[in-house]
Symmetry: C2
Subunit: 115 residues, 2 copies
């Protein structure tokens, strides 16, 4: 009655790197798993100049300043944005390389097997 005798059970291939890498990827995906944060990143990445001052994010997002600051911190710690202090203001930029990493991880072609 076992499936093996009927279907020829699949030998689930467990990639050994999996467990460690999954943690790192999850940190990034977790950063994208909140609507407000996704919009923050979108606002930053869609700028013609490539950068946004933190103070200009509060109004469009519609959350309090501490909340936006918190989300920016999460994005920063996930490696999705960089910040640069200029005067009183802090400018945020998206990190294309990190985004490319995530896209690669979501590629169903052979590369995904290595996730």
């Amino acid at each position: 009655m076992t499936k093996k005798t009927i279907q020829g059970c699949c030998s689930v291939l467990v990639a050994p790197v999996e467990e460690r890498d999954a943690e790192g990827l999850c940190l990034a995906f977790k950063a994208l798993s909140d609507p407000a944060r996704l919009r923050v990143l979108s606002l930053i990445a869609s700028q013609p100049t490539g950068e946004v001052c933190a103070c200009d994010l509060v109004a469009p997002i519609g959350k309090s300043q501490p909340t936006v600051s918190h989300h920016l911190k999460v994005l920063f710690e996930a490696g999705l944005v960089t910040k640069e202090k200029r005067g009183s203001w802090i400018w945020y930029r998206a990190v294309p390389e990190r985004l490319a990493e995530l896209r690669t991880a979501l590629d169903p072609s052979p590369a995904f097997a290595a996730v």
Copy 2:
């Protein structure tokens, strides 16, 4: 002292579609925001046959059967996998189109502005 007089303040472009689409994308990213779930998806997608029986996922993931079942449900509801019942077993497959959607959303080229 305002930034506008010094830097020429950025006019943060708010995409109107943003809020609605962010919710849909977040559902998928949230599904990927757990290490166990990421590994489940990886195991499914990396199969040569393209499909995996649910029963073969419990052992590699190292979580209880109800937990794995829960994770599969989340992935299914996020549109990342499909399931097909054959006899007593349920076979899961990845959904390449949905993965492609996410890759597109993470593209820093113009497309990302529409997220």
